[in-house]
């Protein structure tokens, strides 16, 4: 009876396995809500500034007006209120979200690419396995903070020069986070590849004479997608939180460049008088991380053929 369910799929019209994944994904309520929330947030930060055109860094140069607009509660003029310098929180949340989500996505791409590459190399080429896994151990044992400081010192100036202060910092941060968070993905992928290498279709490809490069691209990589996708979604969440910790340590973006992490940290000082100042970024970060985690959960179920069958 074990293969009753896969057979049930057989007579349905042919569809790609991604369609199957989508069908399964859809049935995971949490994942669907997560996807909706994440897309809404992405829309909020990307399209929002086109609608709400206030400058997030604008401080009224007239001292009297500025004093009057400081620390405002939500109102029609400032839907999320203002901060201690009279800057519009809604605009700052949008701008900050842009950075946070961009950092999350880019850092995730870097860490996943690196992790997958090293994991596949270690798993596929026996000779490289030991070296690469020791390298992974080594990175796991390295202290993150000094590493970031070193990177900041060595590369901040040239990067700022090449890409502007924001672009440079962005690159620095995403690379730093990417470089220090690929190890888990590498381990998982290596394990999967090792298991995959024992599967007969890899043997079949070898009997055809498929060279390693194509073997990896065609047979190995597509089949380790499921753990990679899960690691990727977790990576986004992790990168957003790490960015907030970097803001905490002053290694993040220029001070007038808001991110959710920085807004949360800045707002923490005012939590008693103006709790909304921490609620907005706090909720935004939590929602992003939660939604991404749920998407990851749904993807994991959807990508696992054993679960998909149920």
């Amino acid at each position: 009876m074990t293969d009753a369910a896969p057979q049930a799929v057989k007579l349905a019209k042919p569809r790609s396995q991604w369609a199957d994944v989508w069908v399964q994904f859809k049935s995971h309520k949490g994942a669907l809500v997560g996807l909706f929330v994440f897309l809404s947030l992405a829309l909020f930060v990307s399209v929002g500034p086109l609608v709400w055109t206030k400058d997030p860094t604008f401080i009224n140069p007239d001292a009297v007006t500025m004093i009057k607009t400081r620390n405002k509660p939500p109102s029609w003029e400032f839907p999320l209120g203002t901060d201690q310098l009279g800057r519009d929180m809604l605009a700052r949340m949008m701008k900050g979200g842009q950075t946070s989500i961009a950092v999350g996505l880019t850092a995730m791409v870097i860490s996943i690419t690196l992790g997958t590459f090293i994991g596949v190399m270690a798993g596929y080429f026996k000779r490289l396995d030991n070296v690469l896994m020791r390298l992974t151990d080594l990175f796991l044992a390295l202290p993150l903070l000094p590493l970031l400081l070193v990177m900041a010192m060595l590369f901040r100036a040239p990067l700022s020069k090449a890409f502007g202060p924001e672009g440079g910092t962005f690159l620095l941060i995403v690379v730093a986070i990417g470089l220090t968070s690929w190890m888990q993905a590498a381990r998982v992928v290596r394990g999967e590849v090792l298991a995959l290498k024992e599967r007969e279709f890899v043997l079949a490809a070898r009997s055809i004479g498929t060279p390693s490069r194509r073997m990896i691209l065609r047979h190995v990589l597509p089949n380790v997608m499921s753990p990679i996708m899960v690691a990727a979604t977790l990576g986004i969440a992790n990168a957003i939180i790490t960015e907030s910790a970097l803001s905490f340590l002053g290694l993040g973006f220029p001070p007038d460049f808001p991110t959710w992490g920085r807004l949360l940290f800045d707002g923490a000082e005012y939590i008693q008088q103006y709790p909304e100042r921490v609620i907005w970024p706090g909720v935004a970060i939590s929602l992003t991380v939660l939604s991404v985690n749920y998407i990851g959960d749904g993807l994991r179920d959807a990508l696992d053929p054993r679960i998909r069958g149920r």
């Binding site: 042919p14 599967r199 079949a204 009997s207 597509p222």
Partner: protein
């Protein structure tokens, strides 16, 4: 196979050994080997099917893989056509691959779940030909026709097929490059009874159609009896008996072959109740630590003292029949008594004694 045309050797295996090293101890020193295949010699003739039977762990699958050099051989030679593939450089080996292909055991595991049927069947073409996309597709359709798959299924994924259909996909892939020699590694083991026959018939049809040579690896003695011309019975990395099909099934010579055949249940209660079973005692020894002397000596119902001391060679004891057993002595009239058509050359080919 039974036609009189003198057959040519297609595959010649000499003293094939596949040891998988065991490393142990503090410094991971090489402390022993799993002797999966321990000195195998046999030939396969063009157009024939050699059955390779034995129980799990006897090394039969390793032989199949070693023959296509999916493993690096420990020693010995495997000549396919006229080249020793054990010694080919990787590039030469790649150009040689189209002529030898493999059909795998698990139709589920041997197909990449993320590729469509067309992509799976076309993969060998991608690797070894320079056909245009259209030509490839045409070839894929032809292959699908040949193995009895509906062309409409070309864009489906493997999970949408039943086991028998998947095995057809695997066979189509193996056929794509017009190979001469196909290793069938337990191709029916994972299939339902009613489907096994379909696949076996297909394999036979294709053999006839394309003039294929098969090494048919299986633990199912009744299926091997059906498809193979000659059968090699393996035990613990060595060949116990290598005989043409009919004499083997009618009168197995090696005690292991006897036991094995007697253990196969017969789907006929009448015959079954009348049969005398030889029940072997105990389990197969570990290939990392095979017994001294004859490797069957620990379970052999007819064991004699010499079996524990001396390893019996595979020798021709009847015309065309090779047995590695101290109890089975060559008949004196071997040379004269050859009657069968096939047996004739088989004797000549295998007659060279080897050490």
């Amino acid at each position: 196979m039974l036609d009189a045309k003198p057959a040519k050797k297609l595959v010649e295996v000499k003293d094939l050994k596949m040891y998988f090293p065991i490393h142990s101890g503090l410094l991971r020193r090489h402390t022993g080997d799993v002797k999966a295949v321990d000195g195998l010699s046999f030939d396969i003739f063009e157009g024939e099917t050699l059955g390779l039977v034995g129980e799990s762990g006897c090394g039969k699958s390793t032989v199949g893989r070693a023959l296509l050099r999916l493993y690096e051989l420990t020693s010995g030679s495997v000549t396919i056509g006229d080249e020793d593939i054990a010694k080919l450089s990787p590039e030469k080996l790649r150009t040689k691959r189209p002529m030898m292909q493999m059909v795998f055991q698990d139709p589920q595991a041997c197909l990449n779940p993320r590729m469509t049927v067309a992509a799976i069947i076309a993969e060998p073409l991608d690797e070894h030909t320079k056909l245009s996309a259209d030509e490839k597709l045409e070839k894929v359709y032809e292959l699908m026709d040949a193995v009895g798959l509906n062309r409409a299924f070309a864009n489906r994924y493997p999970h949408a097929f039943s086991g028998g259909q998947r095995q057809r996909i695997g066979i189509a892939r193996a056929l794509a490059l017009n190979p001469k020699f196909i290793v069938c590694d337990e191709p029916i083991a994972a299939l339902d009874v009613s489907i096994q026959a379909q696949v076996v018939n297909l394999l036979e049809d294709l053999q006839e159609q394309y003039g294929l040579t098969y090494l048919f690896i299986s633990h199912d003695l009744s299926m091997v009896r059906h498809i193979a011309d000659r059968v090699a019975v393996m035990y613990l990395g060595r060949i116990a008996e290598l005989s043409p099909r009919e004499p083997l099934y009618a009168d197995p010579l090696h005690p292991y072959a006897k036991a094995l055949l007697s253990a196969v249940p017969d789907p006929d209660p009448e015959r079954e109740s009348g049969r005398k079973r030889i029940i072997l005692q105990g389990d197969v020894p570990s290939p990392s630590n095979p017994p001294k002397g004859c490797n069957f000596c620990t379970r052999c119902p007819e064991v004699i003292p010499i079996c524990h001391e001396v390893k019996p060679d595979l020798a021709e004891v009847r015309p065309g029949r090779f047995v590695a057993c101290h109890l089975v002595k060559p008949d004196n009239n071997t040379a004269a008594g050859s009657t069968g058509l096939a047996e004739d050359f088989e004797y000549n080919q295998q007659g060279e004694p080897k050490q």
